[in-house]
């Protein structure tokens, strides 16, 4: 049998990346590539799951039957997204429940946007429009991620996301064009969600040490600032169209660059929320922990029953 040394393996790996050939689960990959993927995909999965909570908060209060069904289906989709992603994590040899325990212990992060409270129905609109909108911006390039299972999960996710953004925009525009109370509700939601949505793209490129390595590995295909700009450029006109005001006095259109320029993002707030001090961090993690703990006896029962059944069939 041919001896394969590390340099050769690395060269073969790099050459696959260069030729845009996807890396598949059993292929050799550098340990750091695997580690980075496990971290990124599991955090992405956690974000989908924790992300069910702020919207789930309004399922029982949705204002009519149509909205109720749509919101339920939307939040359920997010559970599905979490599952596709955990499924991708497991192809890397990581264990789903262990990554979930890391979430519960605070070791693993999730998107900080979900640590903000949903206090009005308009927040369902703002989340679909802005948060799912930002998520789409992030996820579309990931469909070309170098790791096959992640890329394929993203293709599925992106297909489903467009309905999410549309239903959100439908909610917010209905309010923006509704009664004065409704319009106020919509503007208030935009005021609260705009900046956190911009923070979803992560720190500025200069402060994002992992970006370069991830770009080299083709795990990441665009930088934080590139995606953020793209999001701003498409979203500002949408707000204008429905008569809402972006809560940024410094926002202006730059004729030369063809892009909007924004005021300063409050990165102190971002880091405070990331490190656990957002308005709802504790509640979100506590809710996920409770679900897992309360479900323990159920999962054990199903397993015990399956084993009893196997034993009966064998005898």
């Amino acid at each position: 049998m041919k001896e394969i040394n590390l340099t050769e393996l690395e060269a073969a790996f790099q050459s696959k990346l260069d030729r845009e050939i996807r890396i598949e689960p059993n292929d050799w990959m550098p340990a750091d590539y695997r580690k980075t993927l496990i971290r990124q995909i599991s955090q992405h999965a956690h974000s989908e799951i924790v992300g069910m909570l702020p919207e789930g908060n309004w399922i029982t209060r949705a204002p009519n039957l149509r909205r109720k069904a749509v919101l339920l289906a939307k939040v359920q989709d997010e559970a599905g997204h979490g599952l596709y992603l955990y499924s991708a994590v497991e192809t890397l040899g990581a264990d789903r429940e262990e990554t979930i325990d890391d979430l519960h212990s605070g070791k693993a992060k999730y998107s900080s946007i979900f640590n903000y409270p949903t206090v009005s129905w308009a927040d369902m609109g703002a989340i679909g429009w802005l948060v799912d909108g930002a998520a789409i911006m992030n996820q579309v390039p990931l469909c070309r991620c170098s790791y096959g299972p992640y890329a394929r999960a993203m293709v599925r996710v992106c297909k489903e996301e467009s309905f999410h953004q549309r239903q959100g925009f439908e909610i917010i525009s209905k309010l923006a064009l509704g009664t004065p109370e409704q319009k106020e509700m919509a503007q208030d939601a935009l005021n609260r969600w705009w900046w956190p949505a911009l923070m979803m793209f992560g720190p500025n490129d200069a402060d994002s040490p992992h970006t370069q390595q991830s770009m080299n590995w083709k795990i990441k295909r665009s930088t934080n600032d590139e995606l953020r700009q793209l999001f701003i450029d498409v979203t500002v006109p949408q707000a204008e169209l429905i008569g809402l005001t972006i809560p940024d006095p410094d926002l202006k259109w730059n004729q030369e660059t063809g892009h909007y320029e924004i005021g300063t993002i409050n990165w102190d707030e971002f880091w405070a929320v990331v490190s656990g001090n957002g308005p709802c961090n504790r509640e979100r993690v506590a809710a996920r922990k409770k679900a897992k703990e309360d479900g323990m006896w159920v999962r054990e029962a199903a397993l015990a029953h399956a084993e009893k059944r196997k034993a009966r069939q064998a005898s």
Binding site: N26, D77, E90, D101, R152, R156, M296, L303, H305
Partner: protein, 95 residues
Amino acid sequence: MSQKEWPLWEVFIRSKQGLNHKHVGSLRAADAEMAIENARDVYTRRSEGVSIWVVESNRIFASDPTEADALFEPAHSKVYRHPTFYDVPDGISHM
């Protein structure tokens, strides 16, 4: 952490009659019935399927990618298995 988990299952979906089942992902389930029902709820929420297969992930045996050369290279050299290898005189159709 000493938690006993439900086994992992791989899910294959036939998206319509006439097509093969295709691998779509995995999920956890305590038994086969549950795996099929979960697969239906997770992977066919937008009626993407007409038939589902599930198989416990640890029952799948995979070829070793480092032996890909040995497994697949010989086939690359057997070009005579492909119809384009053969010259067919002009004017012959339906072949």
